[in-house]
């Protein structure tokens, strides 16, 4: 048994000794499970203090760890009896829990990431049907509090914009009906776009408050793509869980399925096969390469530079075809499964993959260089859609968008999954404009292509020794009454899945946080003070997922 396996069977969680808010929380590593009763349930004021100290604005100027908010969600009823009462009716996500004295009660659970130390902090509190909003102190919570409000009717008092989020309740307001912000004035006009956009793209509604050409505020109202994903996942893992998560955000299949597989492996106290883990890693980087390549082309297209658009449109397909060489699907459907990967690579396939990666990368470099060498493109990208570092940090942006604003966050470095060699070099500080986001993506293309080549060499060196990439042979026993968190750095950024099992080892609650959930507000901020004609350019530089947000 390896050291890692020992630590996994011990639980891989710990409560630190010593004083201070950081030591109040349950500390958990990425991809490990802990019993539910290890989560400290604090009084609300202590919980608010804990959150504020670790993740609030002040935490960056004081001693001690600085954390990001990964997930924050409500559960009906107290934490422990809740998991048991849910066994009677799995999947009934909308019911309200009423305590003995007739008042509704809920548990709020927060998952924070300390990137420097590579640990996750978890803590919970119990509230009635209203509590003082935490968003004014921690803006990154704004959507999470709206989500809890929409799901259970819990009112965060003093929330600055408590509006519907996904219009997910069948009896609630119709989609798109809410109080939009409105700037008043003689010269001010409003532009409404969507839900159906003028292209082959997902649906959402945007409202611009404009003074002439200048956008004073952009409000984004989503929910059109709400398919009821999390409710369908409750009661699992069942035979539809993996296919469902493959479609959580269709262009981000590998990241979401990897997070799910990690949760199952954590609850089953098993490690994935080392070779399976390498195949997952390869697939994740191919997904990143495909999307970054496509988006660089689309950015060029949005400023009318058609050479790069045409080449990158083709090259994106070449990356997708590389994934299809491994598993038959251009989007990695069916490739991952709990325990490892469903498809193996033989030497012949590894050699063809190496050639394909090298050839496609060479063409991408040529196509992108044209764009960088073109002064008209550079002048259109520079200084447009700036998200300053302070804004990116307080909104909790993730992925390339955060790195382009100068945040040094990458889960592959800070919270690596077991047995992986990938550690991207630190990113250069950037200014947060469209050019920064484009450069950050190009830099990731270079790193990922080099990593894929090294990884493929490793498959050859193994000489077929680490052959087991097979899934679990029989349904594994999943640890009951436990919680586990899995973080995977997808191409858009942090994919976070939180699973809570009931006594029988079934998911009582399954929480999916797509990177788009964190980043949509970043797009709105990027548009402040910009010309409305630059919206497509700014939008494409983020290229966020609507269904990843709406689930």
């Amino acid at each position: 048994m390896t050291q890692e396996q020992k630590s996994r069977t011990r639980g891989g969680f710990f409560s630190a000794e010593g004083q201070g808010p950081a030591n109040d929380s349950l500390q958990l590593r990425n991809g490990y499970a802990a019993p539910l009763d290890a989560i400290p349930v604090m009084g609300f004021s202590r919980f608010a203090h804990w959150l504020g100290t670790l993740a609030g604005e002040k935490s960056r100027s004081t001693e001690g760890p600085t954390c990001r908010v990964c997930a924050f969600f409500a559960l009906p009823g107290p934490l422990l009896p809740w998991a048991e009462s849910r066994e009677q009716q799995p999947g009934g996500a909308q019911e309200r829990s009423v305590s003995e004295n007739g008042e509704a009660s809920f548990t709020l659970l927060a998952v924070l990431a300390d990137d420097a130390a590579g640990v996750l902090h978890l803590a919970a509190t119990e509230v009635g049907d209203r509590y003082p909003s935490l968003t004014p102190r921690i803006p990154a919570l704004h959507l999470f509090e709206r989500e809890a409000h929409e799901k259970y009717g819990i009112v965060p008092e003093g929330h600055p914009w408590l509006k519907p989020l996904r219009f997910s309740r069948p009896g609630g307001p119709d989609v798109g009906f809410m109080d939009f912000y409105r700037v008043e004035g003689d010269e001010v006009h409003e532009v409404a776009v969507g839900p159906i956009h003028a292209g082959v793209i997902e649906c959402g509604h945007f409202r611009f408050q404009c003074l002439g050409e200048e956008v004073m505020h952009l409000e984004i109202s989503l929910g059109y793509h709400h398919r009821g994903m999390e409710a369908l996942l409750a009661g699992g893992p069942h035979r539809a869980t993996l296919p469902l998560l493959e479609t959580a955000a269709g262009d981000n299949t590998i990241a979401h399925t990897w997070a799910y597989c990690t949760l199952v492996e954590a609850f089953a106290e098993q490690l994935p096969s080392p070779r399976g883990q390498l195949i997952r890693s390869l697939a994740l980087e191919l997904e990143r390469l495909a999307n970054h390549t496509g988006d660089l082309g689309a950015l060029a297209g949005d400023v009318g530079f058609l050479s790069t658009l045409s080449y990158c449109g083709r090259l994106r397909g070449d990356w997708l075809n590389t994934s299809a060489m491994i598993c038959g699907s251009r989007f990695g459907r069916g490739l991952l499964c709990p325990g490892g990967a469903a498809f193996d690579l033989d030497a012949q396939l590894v050699h063809s993959l190496k050639d394909k990666v090298a050839g496609t990368f060479r063409d991408v470099q040529g196509a992108v260089k044209l764009m960088w060498d073109s002064p008209s493109v550079m002048s259109r990208f520079t200084g447009i859609g700036i998200v300053p570092e302070s804004v990116a940090r307080s909104l909790g942006l993730v992925g390339p968008a955060a790195r382009a604003s100068g945040l040094d966050c990458d889960l592959r470095r800070s919270h690596p999954l077991s047995g992986l060699p990938m550690s991207p070099p630190p990113y250069k500080g950037r200014s947060g404009d469209v050019l920064s986001r484009a450069e950050a993506r190009h830099e990731e293309i270079v790193n990922s292509a080099a990593f894929c080549s090294r990884l493929l060499e490793r498959f050859l060196d193994d000489g077929g020794e680490e052959v087991q990439c097979a899934p679990f042979e029989r349904p594994p026993f999943l640890k009951g009454r436990s919680i586990s968190v899995a973080l995977v750095e997808g191409w858009r950024g942090e994919v976070c899945h939180v699973g809570i099992t009931d006594r029988g080892g079934r998911f009582a609650e399954y929480v999916v946080v797509d990177p788009s959930f964190h980043n949509w507000m970043g797009l709105a901020m990027a548009l402040r003070g910009q010309q409305i004609s630059d919206f497509p350019l700014c939008n494409k530089s983020f290229n966020l997922s609507y269904c990843g947000h709406d689930l």
Binding site: C203, G228, A231, L232, H238, G250, A324, G328, P475
Partner: protein
């Protein structure tokens, strides 16, 4: 400028010769399923429902003469093939999945003698209009001759739209994969504009709606408004399992399949309050293109035949 020309030469011409030649598909591609009547336990009257129990979308149901697999709800995950104890259910590499008839998407056992050619070189024996394809994983001794799915273009499609058909793609809560593989048809690789096909921004300019996604509650009104804004005559094409049936998100009958013996047995929640059932019945879908997502060649083949053009039959597939 010179750099651009040099790069243009280096990137080469990349438009595929389809439909003049067969498409290049990955070896591990999972296309049209085939159920061998001679070895299927259920077809022989035995008690087996392994494929149905393994299916995540409950696309397989049992009939008197064996299983029926609904490609309109199938995600092509291969779980049924893996669960089949007799290995009689396989996924072939046949990419031609589109049909104008919803009922034709149900795959039922086919007699092996009539449809399986054991000698891959005996392709001459293939029936006219049939598809000869390899199975996944490729086994040279099993080459299938599958009858074509019915695809009869409507009179409007063959007449009015044969040379110019403008498509308005509507994403009714699709996950982005169907959309990406439709978008790719507009790139230099497939270049659908050369067939008179093109994606347009306004429904007023559109001849056909290309619908993706399960059309949940929150997308119904927008989808219907877009359809109403299109001029007559109009066509509707449902692309992907979600748009055809709701796929993974549809509500399932309470008396559905029991727990199977797959890696993770158990039943998903039966009712989805978001009512994601795919294209609404009264919309009148004219063309169904199955897949999750359909391969770009599958969609292109469907579009082209629907407007009355011929595409290469898989019967010409070389080993």
């Amino acid at each position: 400028m010179l750099d651009i020309l040099v790069e243009r030469l280096r990137q080469k011409k990349r438009t595929v010769p389809f439909p003049g030649a067969l498409p290049a598909l990955p070896l591990r591609f999972r296309g049209r399923p085939f159920i061998d009547a001679s070895s299927c336990i259920r077809a022989a009257g035995g008690d087996c429902a392994a494929c149905a129990k393994a299916c995540p979308t409950e696309a397989v149901h049992m009939e008197d003469r064996g299983p029926a697999l609904d490609m309109g709800a199938c995600t092509f995950c291969g779980a049924c093939a893996a669960a089949c104890p007799a290995a009689s259910l396989v996924f072939t590499t046949d990419w031609r999945l589109a049909s104008t008839e919803r009922a034709a998407l149900f795959i039922r056992p086919l007699p092996a003698e009539a449809h399986v050619v054991h000698d891959p070189m005996g392709r001459d024996k293939a029936m006219a209009g049939a598809a000869v394809v390899q199975s996944f994983p490729p086994r040279p001794e099993r080459t299938f001759v599958l009858p074509e799915l019915p695809l009869a273009p409507t009179r409007e499609a063959a007449g009015a739209f044969a040379r110019s058909c403008r498509l308005r793609q509507v994403t009714a809560a699709g996950c982005g994969a169907c959309e990406a593989d439709l978008n790719v048809l507009g790139t230099v690789v497939f270049d659908i504009a050369r067939f008179g096909l093109d994606f347009v921004a306004s429904p007023r300019h559109a001849d056909a709606m290309v619908l993706t996604g399960p059309v949940p509650r929150n997308m119904r009104e927008a989808t219907l408004k877009c359809l109403a804004a299109m001029p007559e005559p109009k066509l509707i094409m449902a692309v992907g399992a979600c748009a055809i049936s709701g796929g993974l998100f549809r509500s399932l009958p309470d008396e559905g399949q029991e727990e199977g013996d797959s890696a993770f047995p158990g039943r998903p929640q039966r009712q989805n309050p978001q009512r994601a059932e795919g294209a609404l019945p009264h919309m009148g879908v004219g063309l169904f293109i199955p897949g999750c997502p359909p391969h770009p060649y599958t969609s292109l083949d469907g579009f082209l035949r629907f407007i009355g053009r011929t595409t290469p039959s898989s019967a010409r597939l070389s080993p």
